[in-house]
């Protein structure tokens, strides 16, 4: 059996550059079938733990499609990287049956997968693992209610727009020094562009690019005539706008980001299926 590997750089954060690192990993790993593929974290010093959701999705996909197994050397999981022990990613990669170590720092929101019909489990995860997290202690009740509402709206979108039976994945991390909480939610469906392009093609303003498709969705439109009211993303964007938060949406090779009151787009090299959403909350 051939072993193959991808060496991660020193730092991987929740931004276009960090997303490109994971895409490069996925692209390289996709070339191999029926083998063991190594995640080389020997040079990695820091990675935002919420990105575990995206890594898990990529590995899950390649296990299924390419029959590839993955290997991560546990000796790399020290210092800041220990979080990937605590949030469950390392266990998933190694298919470990051991229990997870205790999250004594209480900074982790574990990585989890949900089928779309598992609404009760998803609600429990948001209530227990996210809203009751110590990083959310100073958030007012009314804001928590609005936030939870936003997450449930995004979750409901997957059934309506993603056209997939694949699970939804979620993960978060609280960064106490920066007073930031980062939360990632993703689906492995068809992404924004295909449905929106088909829906708008005969209109006066057809949508033909990934950037325009994301903008179209965020502005409250929907392709489902039976589902008036948009995708819920506009409510989340409004929440971020009012509360100094950030919203990143990645789909069809476009990294769309609302940050510090401004919208930016980055073209990525390659893409992974579906849509990834990152929410970044900042506390005073």
């Amino acid at each position: 059996m051939t072993s193959n590997f991808y060496q991660f750089p020193a730092k991987v954060e929740t931004d276009a550059r960090g997303h490109q690192v994971l895409l490069d990993f996925y692209k390289d790993a996709s070339k191999f079938h029926n083998c063991t593929y190594h995640l080389d974290w020997s040079q990695l010093q820091f990675m935002d733990a919420n990105l575990a959701a995206l890594l898990m999705a990529m590995i899950w996909t390649l296990r299924g499609a390419n029959k590839t197994e993955f290997y991560l050397n546990y000796t790399y999981l020290n210092g800041g990287l220990n979080v990937f022990h605590r949030n469950g990613l390392a266990h998933f990669i190694r298919r470990s049956k051991e229990g997870l170590p205790e999250d004594l720092r209480e900074s982790t929101i574990p990585v989890r997968a949900f089928m779309v019909k598992d609404v009760d489990k998803f609600v429990e995860y948001i209530d227990r693992d996210f809203l009751r997290h110590r990083g959310m202690e100073d958030v007012q009740y009314e804001q928590k209610v609005r936030l939870k509402d936003s997450f449930l709206e995004i979750f409901s979108n997957v059934e309506l727009h993603a056209q997939t039976e694949n699970p939804v994945l979620a993960c978060g991390q609280y960064f106490p020094k920066q007073k930031e909480l980062k939360f990632t939610l993703l689906d492995m469906g068809c992404g924004f562009l295909s449905n929106i392009a088909a829906f708008t093609k005969d209109t006066t303003t057809p949508v033909t690019t990934a950037e325009k498709a994301i903008s179209w969705a965020v502005r409250g439109h929907t392709t489902k005539l039976a589902a008036a009211g948009g995708t819920g993303l506009s409510k989340i964007l409004n929440f971020c706008r009012k509360n100094n938060g950030a919203l990143h949406i990645i789909s069809d090779g476009c990294y769309w980001a609302f940050e510090n009151g401004v919208i930016n787009n980055h073209r990525l090299n390659g893409h992974f299926s579906g849509a990834t959403i990152h929410l970044i909350f900042r506390f005073e």
Binding site: K117, G229, G230
Partner: protein
Amino acid sequence: MSESPEMNTLNISNSINTPNAILHSFGYAVFQKAQAILNNGNILILDFHGLKNVTSAFLHASVGNLVTFLGNTYEKRVHIQGISDPIWQEKINEAIELAKNPDYITEHEQAIALLFED
């Protein structure tokens, strides 16, 4: 002498077997059950007791479709009870407004539109 229409209560939580009225498909299932009640000439009481979470997606599929189905008779034929969260009432009002007027733009959508202006 014509008979008064019967009042039929449809408890949403029992109908969808969960206190989390989140998915569009759940909302559409409620709409179909409600439609069957209304097709018999009855008045519908849509009961939110027992629910813990309600999304706009659910409400657009249930209440929104009922508004479209009943048109001007919606207010006479559908009553809502058991609202325990004022946000749900906001969403219900929005679903009704959007069903009556598809071009209705919410306040937050107006705010978002400003972000996209050059």
